[in-house]
Each structure stands twice: as C-alpha cells, then as structure tokens.
C-alpha cells in the first residue's frame, strides 16, 4: 500500500513542473531568462550598484567620457550616465509590466464575457474589439500622449504611457480568450459546474479562465516585449516618459543631437542595447514558454 503511494508520488508531475521541465530543455529560452534576470536585478538593486544617486549633479564633471569613476561618462549636467541607465531600466520595465497587466485584465474580461455569453453580448464586444484593433497603434498613441500628456507634470507621463499602451493592446488576447472559451464552455466540466448551481462569474473566472492560463502567460511575455518596445519608441519621440525621469527610450533620444550621435556614442548605444536585450530576452522566454505550454509541440 505504502509502496503504491510512493510510485504515484514520483509519477505525478504538476503542470507547472511539466512546463519548467520542457522550458529548461530549450537553451535559448534559458539564455533569455538569464539575460532578463540580469536586467531586472540590475535595475532593482540600482542603489547598491552605483555610488551616485539619480539626482547627483557634479558641475565639475560635465560631458565626461567613460572613466573608472563614471563607467559610461556623464551627461551635460554632470550626472553619472551608468546610474541613469540603471534607473531608466526600472521605469522601462515597470511601464512594460503594468501596460501588459492592464491589457491582460481587459483582454481576459472582455474575451471571457464575450465567449461565455455569446449572442448579442459577443457581437457587441467583438465589434468593439475590431474597432480598437483597427486603430493605427503608433499614430494614435503619439496623438493621445500629446493630448493627455500636454498639461501633466512630467512624473505622471509614465503612468499615461502605461495606460495608452495597455488600453490599445488588449484586442489580440481578447480574441484568443473568446475563441478558447467558446470551445471550453461546451465541455462536460462546465455542465457539472452548471449542475452545481455555480454563478456565472464563478464559472467564468474560476473554471473557464484558468483553463486558458497557458495562452495568457505566453501572451503576457510576448506582450511585455512589445510594450517595452512601444514605450521606448514613444519616449524616443519625446511623447512617452520625459526627462528628468530616465527611461531607456528617452536616453537614446540624446542621439538626436548630431554632436552626441557622432562623437559620444556611449551616451546612446548602451541604453539602446538595453532595450534590445530586454526585448529579445523576453521574446526568447515567450517562445520557450509557448513550446512548453503547448503539448502539441513536444517532440
């Protein structure tokens, strides 16, 4: 009897562990995870990694080239540039993360309700989704940002950028969730849920949505990559997060000055590389997760 139990215990692998086992097999995905972890740790522990604070201005050391004191030189106000990149990472990653959370919440709720109720509810919600989908993303985002952000103090622009990206990027997920729920709701376990007399809300959010978790997670990772890209593009155009709050995007903006572009590449190449590394590492993780979550792809 006891032996039976032991055998069972070793054989049963939970879905999370299963995903991890498959994920681990993909070297590129693990590499992505490591790069991403370095970036996250670097920006999280920024105060411990650099002796300077974000606001330290050293007027005697303006426009310095990279040196032992200032690894990536200083900017025109004498601020340590490496410090600005570390703190800029905080903002870029935070904006990406929260934008994706907003889009997931919206996508899951709208897709879930449309898929579960069907009929006219589905029709209305899906028409709405189509309309949001046919907005041209970048032109609209820069317009909204210019409109809403114009009278905002600089430090709130970060939140506006998050919301713009989040509010414009949920339709893809809503469609996936709806499609999944349409097929899931016809399955036996839903019949059982109905027979138990569960409320609609409980059925949708406790029984149907958890079954689509795989898609949500994959979407979340890939969505975060594109949210970081969008934030950096907006900030680069001067319409996202604005200085003095640093983000990787608006640090690259330094290169709009031809003098900096041509003679001080250390001011714009490192933040640009950070964006690239963050996005590519998240994409690698996302690809790995997609294969790990999708049982069909296991060779």
């Amino acid at each position: 009897m006891q032996e039976d139990q032991k055998i069972n215990q070793t054989q049963v692998i939970g879905p999370w562990k299963m995903t991890w086992i498959h994920f681990k097999k993909k070297k590129t995905a693990v590499a992505g995870l490591i790069i991403f972890a370095i970036l996250v740790l670097g920006s999280t522990f920024a105060p411990f990694l650099t002796p300077y604070s974000l606001e330290t201005i050293d007027k005697t050391a303006r426009n310095q080239p990279p040196s032992w004191e200032h690894w990536l030189g200083t900017d025109n106000l004498g601020r340590d540039y490496f410090t600005r990149i570390l703190y800029g990472g905080r903002v870029s990653l935070k904006v990406g993360l929260f934008a994706v959370i907003i889009s997931i919440v919206l996508g899951v709720i709208i897709g879930g309700i449309a898929g579960y109720y069907g009929g006219w509810v589905d029709n209305v919600l899906m028409r709405f989704t189509e309309i949001v989908m046919s907005f041209p993303f970048l032109p609209l985002a820069i317009t909204i940002s210019a409109v809403v952000g114009a009278e905002m103090p600089g430090e709130y622009k970060m939140y506006i950028t998050m919301f713009i990206i989040g509010l414009l990027s949920w339709p893809g997920l809503a469609r996936i969730i709806r499609g999944q729920i349409l097929s899931l709701r016809e399955q036996e376990f839903m019949l059982a849920a109905t027979a138990l007399g569960l409320s609609d809300r409980r059925k949708i959010f406790r029984h149907l949505i958890p079954n689509t978790l795989g898609y949500v997670i994959v979407y979340a990772t890939l969505g975060m990559a594109s949210a970081i890209l969008s934030e950096s593009s907006l900030s680069f155009l001067g319409l996202g997060v604005v200085p003095p709050t640093p983000t990787w995007g608006n640090l690259v903006l330094n290169a709009r000055d031809t003098h900096i572009l041509t003679t001080r590449p250390w001011l714009w190449i490192p933040p640009g590389l950070c964006i690239f590394l963050a996005v590519i590492s998240i994409n690698l993780i996302g690809d790995g997760l997609r294969d790990a979550v999708d049982p069909k792809s296991h060779r």
Binding site: T28, R127, E130, I131, S134, F135, P136, F137, L138, P139, L140, I142, T143, I144, A146, V147, V148, A150, E151, A225, L229, S232, S233, F236, L237, L239, G249, V252, A255, T258, L261, T262, P265, W268, I269, G272, I275, F276, V279, I280, N283, L284, D287
Partner: protein
C-alpha cells in the same frame, strides 16, 4: 463573392464613422491654441474671438464634428496652420515620398522572405533554419529607431558611405536618372531598417505556412507518386502556403506606413510620418485629423484586402453569402 465584398465594405462604413468620432474627440481635446500661432501676438480679445468664429471653434463640439465630417467627405480637410496651405496639398506633396520608400521595402521584404521561409521549412531544424529563426527574432526585438541610429553612426558617420539623412542632397538640382540615383542612395539605410523589421514576421509566416502544408496527406501522396522534390515543394506545397501570405500582405501595408513614422523622423525623410510628428508637436488640428483618418482607413483597407484576398485565393474558405 461580389456580394461578400460589398457586404464587407458596407460593414466598414459604421466602423470608419465610429473611429472618426473617437479621433475627432481626441484631437479636439488637445490643449494648446493653434490660433495663437496664426495671429499677431498683439491681437485683441475681439480679434481672437473673430478668428475663433471664422474657424468655427466657438461652436459646440458635435456641431464642429458634423461640419468637419461634411467637409471631409467632400475631400476638404481644411487648412494646415503649420504649412499655411490646404491639408490636401500638404499630404499629397509628401505621401509619394513615403510611398516610394514603402514600395521598395515591400518588394524587398517579400522577395527575400519567401525563399528564406521556404528553405527554413523544407530544412526544418537545420542550421539554416535556426539561423533565420534567430535572425527574425533579432528583427522583431530591435527597436527600429536604435537600429536606424546605429546604421547612421556606422555607415554614414564612420564609413561615410551614405548620407546621414534627407531624401536628396541639400540644394540639389539633379533631374532624371541622376535624381533617381540620388534618392536611391539616401534610401539605402532607411530601407534596410524597415526591410529587416518586416522580414521577421514574413519569414515566420512563410515558414509556418509551409510547415503546415508539408505535413499534409496530399504532399505525402505527391511524394509517393514519385514526383521530384522540386515539383512537390514549389508546385504542390508552395501554392497552398501562399494563402496565409496573402493575409499578411494586407496587414503589412498599414504597418509599413505607421512604422515609417519613427524612421522618417530619424532619417529626416520628408514623408507622411514626419509630417505627422510635426503636426502633433505644433498642434496642427486639421493636419492631425486628416492624417489620423488616413492611417485608420489604411489599416481598415489592409484588413479588408487581407480578408478578400483570403477568400479569393483559398476556395476552402466558405464565404457567407447571405
């Protein structure tokens, strides 16, 4: 089929209408006063009010919307404050510059990505395949503005192979073939950036489309009939793999134009994207509205083309003919 197309077009009308309301609302919320830039700064309050009345800004917003819509349907988008010319003129002057760049990129992207996609699928999991998979990942992950700056830094500043920006040399008076060469020379770097970033998704789609087809029974049948691998791949498989590409073609058009927004401002390419950024920074209402509508309609048309193309190419798609 015609019925289906007509129905789809009819469906577009309310969507365009709703989008126009949203865009109008957003643009009208823009703080900043365009009258100020148009008038003498010493103008009196009455003169300002008169200007507002002339432009129709003293009316309630829904009346303004209706008037704007009426004019827009007739093709009159008002005057641009920034350029002091009718919006139509401004747009028609720059749109060809964007168009030329986009057409070149479009052709290059498809010409390069289709063979790569096919080879990657046929030799799945080979070195070639993994190389291109990584390459597309690079294309997706590279922020286009950073990539553009890197190319400018490397090829224009350091190697001096290409001009730093612009579409023609300042003060250039070349004509004919020399002009074509000059524009072509300026176009190399922006075209490389745009092509690589659109290559990524195109290669992925072609590869996945080919893989789907190659795993189907009729391909096995074709092989077992003793057909050569060339015939199997190019005659039997590729034609069916084309179907998803047709859809992508439609999606690619608006993507290219809006992707150019950033790139045009880096390379100072005198196209529609740069005008868009200028219009927003200078609060040029009429120009902003017209450009936003242009981008939205382009997106909708792209989607429509994709759907119609899909229905035309793939006889298996059942068109709802009610």
């Amino acid at each position: 089929m015609i019925k289906y197309i007509l129905k789809r077009i009819l469906h577009l009308i309310p969507v365009i209408f709703i989008i126009s309301i949203c865009i109008f609302g957003i643009v009208k919320l823009t703080p900043g006063n365009p009258i100020g830039s148009n008038l003498d700064p010493r103008a009196t309050a009455e003169e300002k009010a008169a200007e507002r009345a002339r432009l129709g800004y003293d009316k309630p917003i829904h009346i303004q919307y209706i008037e704007w819509m009426k004019r827009s349907i007739r093709g009159d988008f008002g005057e641009s404050y920034l350029y002091k010319r009718p919006v139509n003129k401004v747009i028609s002057e720059v749109i060809w510059n964007s168009f030329i760049l986009n057409v070149v990129v479009f052709i290059l992207a498809f010409l390069i990505s289709i063979p790569i996609g096919i080879i990657s699928a046929v030799k799945q999991y080979s070195k070639t395949d993994s190389f291109w998979t990584l390459f597309s990942l690079f294309g997706i992950s590279m922020p286009s503005f950073f990539f553009g700056l890197l190319l400018i830094f490397g090829f224009s500043v350091k190697l001096k192979w290409f001009p730093i920006n612009g579409m023609i040399n300042p003060g250039s008076t070349t004509t004919g073939f020399a002009r074509v060469l000059e524009v072509g020379h300026h176009m190399v770097l922006p075209a490389i950036v745009l092509t690589i970033s659109s290559l990524a998704s195109l290669v992925r789609y072609t590869r996945n489309g080919m893989l789907d087809v190659l795993n189907q029974d009729y391909i096995r049948t074709a092989r077992s009939k003793g057909l050569s691998e060339k015939v199997v791949i190019y005659k039997h498989a590729f034609r069916n793999a084309l179907i998803p590409l047709v859809t992508l073609l439609g999606f690619q058009i608006p993507g290219l134009f809006s992707g150019a927004v950033i790139l045009e401002s880096i390379f100072v390419w005198p196209g529609i994207g740069r005008v868009m950024v200028d219009a927003i920074n200078q609060r040029d209402y009429n120009l902003m509205l017209a450009l936003m509508m242009f981008f939205s309609i382009l997106t909708l048309l792209g989607n429509l083309l994709a759907d119609i193309g899909y229905a035309l190419v793939d006889p298996r798609v059942k068109v709802d003919e009610r």
